[in-house]
């Protein structure tokens, strides 16, 4: 059998959020044995739209895959008793509950009486601090972390990142933190601990460059005033395309490909700070030249000269993308059910590969018999 990086690691996930579910999904993808402890009514993610033709939640299909499931009512003493029994045999607990929720049910870290237990808290605002009990979600974390203020247009409302981005980042950070705690436990026999990963902390961390630019620059970074090639993709013949000019040769080669020889020849344009302060003199011309191209042709031409550029691709195009197919990115579940294409590994480990072994389980069922 191919070894997995996290073989032998046992996880109980009683979180109810995307962040917690993604943390435990990544643990499972690399070999940990993950059991969801979900409420009798089912994991809340099972209620999230959109739904497939059979009425099952698509987010749940992604976030809960590769796990087994038990249903437990943690509001009842009996449910907590069973939960404690499971927890006694695991290495890692994943929680998304607020401090008060755990306290009223007697499920704090100390209550498990296990010095070697790693307990990860993936929450919106953290287990300590003024906001620990304040409700939040991806929208408010986008607001608090600065991302919303920088996304979108200045003339309109700020934009959160799409979908469950901050939850996903929090899940990745919580997963990494769990692995760090397990490594420590491995080096210092039996030393477990609590790991507190808050979405607002993680997204602020991913926003750190904008914060320091603002402080050093003496001027608050704002949303873009307009959509142009400096802010991201602009229209081309069959969609949208991002042309990102940084180094001087990108400029020369791109202008040459676009047939704008006077811009390619004038060395003043090679300096980024000159382009930034004279953008009215070239942006309109370059965007007009781009409009005659298809995404594919422009990408091929620019890539051949190693100019950084990228077409806006949709899911159908990514599913058919020659590069992703050549790398074997897409994963197929071969379990006798209708074929399902899943996104594959976020990275390729050569000795201990990522693996998709089961769909999201039905509540209370092991994945393999959860149909």
């Amino acid at each position: 059998m191919t070894p997995r990086a996290l073989d032998g690691v046992r996880v109980i996930d009683f979180s109810t959020t995307v962040a917690g579910a993604w943390c435990s999904r990544l643990l499972a993808d690399f070999g940990a044995e993950v059991v969801l402890a979900e409420p009798p009514a089912g994991h809340p993610l099972r209620q999230l739209a959109p739904f497939d033709h059979a009425g099952a939640s698509i987010p749940a299909a992604y976030f809960l895959a590769n796990k087994r499931s038990v249903t437990l009512d943690l509001d009842s003493e009996a449910g907590r008793g069973v939960f404690r029994g499971l927890a006694a045999r695991c290495d890692v607990l994943v929680s998304s509950a607020a401090p008060s929720w755990l306290a009223t049910r007697g499920l704090e870290y100390g209550s498990f009486g296990r010095a070697d237990l790693v307990m990860a808290h993936a929450t919106e605002h953290g287990m300590a601090g003024a906001l620990a009990e304040t409700p939040g979600n991806d929208l408010t974390t986008a607001a608090r972390s600065g991302w919303a203020a920088l996304n979108g247009l200045l003339s309109r409302e700020p934009l959160k990142p799409s979908g469950w981005q901050s939850s996903m980042c929090t899940g990745v950070a919580a997963w990494a933190a769990v692995l760090a705690a397990l490594w420590r436990r491995g080096e210092h026999a039996g030393e477990g601990q609590e790991v507190d990963v808050a979405a607002v902390d993680v997204m602020a961390s991913t926003f750190a460059p904008a914060v320091l630019r603002t402080l050093y620059g003496g001027e608050t970074l704002r949303r873009r005033a307009e959509v142009d090639m400096l802010s991201g993709p602009v229209p081309v013949r069959d969609g949208h395309f991002a042309l990102t000019i940084s180094r001087a040769h990108f400029w020369r080669d791109a202008m040459h490909i676009l047939g704008l020889e006077d811009l390619a020849a004038d060395p003043r344009w090679e300096a980024g700070h000159y382009r930034a302060s004279h953008k009215d003199e070239y942006v309109g011309r370059v965007e007009e030249a781009m409009r005659g191209w298809t995404r594919h042709d422009l990408f091929q031409e620019l890539a051949a000269r190693r100019v950084i550029a990228g077409p806006v691709l949709e899911m159908a195009e990514l599913a058919a993308n020659e590069h992703l197919q050549a790398r074997g990115f897409w994963a197929q579940l071969d379990d006798g059910e209708a074929p399902a294409t899943f996104p594959g590994a976020p990275f390729k480990m050569t000795r201990t590969p990522w693996e998709l072994s089961g769909r999201a389980p039905a509540p209370g069922r092991a994945a393999e018999d959860g149909r």
Partner: protein, 424 residues
């Protein structure tokens, strides 16, 4: 105290954002991160030798070298040490390989061919350190027809499918306000090295990890990929809206560019929102009486809420909504994030003094551990700041040997000899 990875060391060739953020996170976790930089080709996030000094630093007397004062570099390289080596020179490569013997992991985010062309690929590293872990973090990965296509966050966002999902309802696809895919790739890279360390801990085996930014970011929006696979639908751009819940938006407040985010995911939160906005009558409005009715009438709902928030003070409204149990927050500008009391209380914001750039509040580690708490965050290194410290500590190099490396241009600080441009 020290972080959970205390005792581990990375010798890293990371640059710009994705790679440097990956190794910064490992540094926050307690690993000793030695960043190897090349003076002839500055890290693009250090900028260039002749770039102007950032505006607020022009009055800081110690701020002399712009490449040590770039906010981009300084934000994502805290807690690291920096050495310089000319990797085109055989002597520089030899010093690097000697350092790798003392490393647990190596990380790099060059274009795929660079490391191999230098003779520093995985096999070369494994020869000097058999259990080494190497993370290569590139735009499109190390294999496949696009392997040598260059990319950065601003182009991976479109090619990973993220851009197609981001934007206003009915509007064009947009990139994020800064190159978000770098941060995503950095987070996965950090976990990838940790997973490999876990395997090494139990088996003694190192390994090679190939991280494609495109794939990491596509996996990060995998629910939208499955939606297409299962239904044939491309998920539309939804602005601030949620697939399930309404209201879920960002609404104007009194003053210029003042906004509040507000949402309800339950009936209790919805009723609290109505009450806190002074519109208890909404609860009885047929258009808003159930979760599905609110979703179906979301335009009217958003218009009503926007009208109710428009004259309100942003911060007091956000507090009032939160206190009532509504999911709500003020939309903070970048400078406000730097002084956010919650982040400060949690130690995510620290005041860090950089030897040239001066003293600034910075966003630091997002990790909190109950037992292995790291010490205060150290500033990003100046170019070559730790050359002799690291070479002597790891390699037992003498002062004379180091001076010879500097004399031959293999190491040193600041612009290489013969550099023609200004030095700031």
């Amino acid at each position: 105290m020290s972080g959970p990875l205390h005792g581990l060391r990375g010798v890293v060739l990371t640059q710009a954002w994705a790679g440097t953020y990956c190794t910064q996170l490992l540094g926050f976790l307690g690993a000793d991160i030695i960043q190897v930089e090349v003076r002839k080709r500055l890290d693009s996030w250090r900028g260039s030798y002749d770039m102007p000094m950032p505006a607020a630093l022009r009055e800081v007397p110690t701020a002399k070298h712009p490449w040590n004062c770039n906010p981009l570099y300084n934000s994502v390289n805290t807690n690291k040490r920096c050495v310089t080596l000319d990797l085109q020179a055989a002597e520089g490569r030899e010093v690097l390989l000697r350092m790798v013997r003392h490393a647990d992991f190596v990380a790099e985010n060059f274009s795929p061919r660079v490391l191999g062309n230098l003779g520093l690929g995985y096999d070369a590293l494994r020869e000097v350190k058999p259990d080494i872990i190497l993370l290569s973090l590139s735009a499109y990965g190390n294999t496949g027809p696009w392997a040598n296509v260059p990319g950065i966050g601003g182009t991976i966002e479109p090619t990973s499918g993220m851009t197609a999902l981001h934007g206003y309802e009915g509007g064009p696809p947009m990139n994020s306000g800064q190159m978000y895919p770098d941060a995503v790739a950095g987070l996965y890279g950090c976990g990838a090295i940790l997973a490999a360390l876990h395997h090494r801990q139990s088996t003694g085996e190192g390994q090679y990890i190939d991280l494609s930014m495109q794939e990491a970011n596509l996996a990060h929006i995998g629910d939208a990929a499955i939606e297409w696979a299962l239904t044939g639908r491309q998920r539309p751009r939804m602005g601030n809206r949620h697939t399930t819940f309404a209201p879920h938006g960002i609404y104007p407040c009194a003053g210029e560019n003042r906004w509040v985010a507000a949402a309800s995911e339950t009936e209790v939160q919805w009723l609290a929102l109505c009450g806190a906005l002074g519109h208890a009558e909404w609860a009885a409005d047929a258009r808003f009486a159930s979760a599905s009715a609110r979703k179906a009438n979301e335009d009217a709902l958003d218009a009503a809420i926007g009208a109710a928030t428009a004259g309100a003070d942003r911060d007091s409204l956000a507090r009032r909504l939160s206190a009532a149990g509504v999911i709500a927050a003020a939309v903070l500008e970048a400078d406000e994030v730097a002084s956010d009391p919650h982040l400060r209380e949690r130690g995510v914001i620290e005041t860090v003094t950089h030897p040239e750039a001066g003293t600034w509040d910075m966003i630091c580690s997002p990790f909190h551990f109950s037992k292995t708490t790291p010490g205060a965050t150290r500033p990003a290194p100046c170019l070559g700041e730790h050359n002799f410290e690291v070479f002597s500590e790891l390699l037992g190099m003498s002062h004379d040997e180091y001076e010879a490396l500097v004399a031959s241009g293999v190491s040193g600080v600041g612009p290489p000899d013969g550099y023609e441009g200004g030095t700031g």
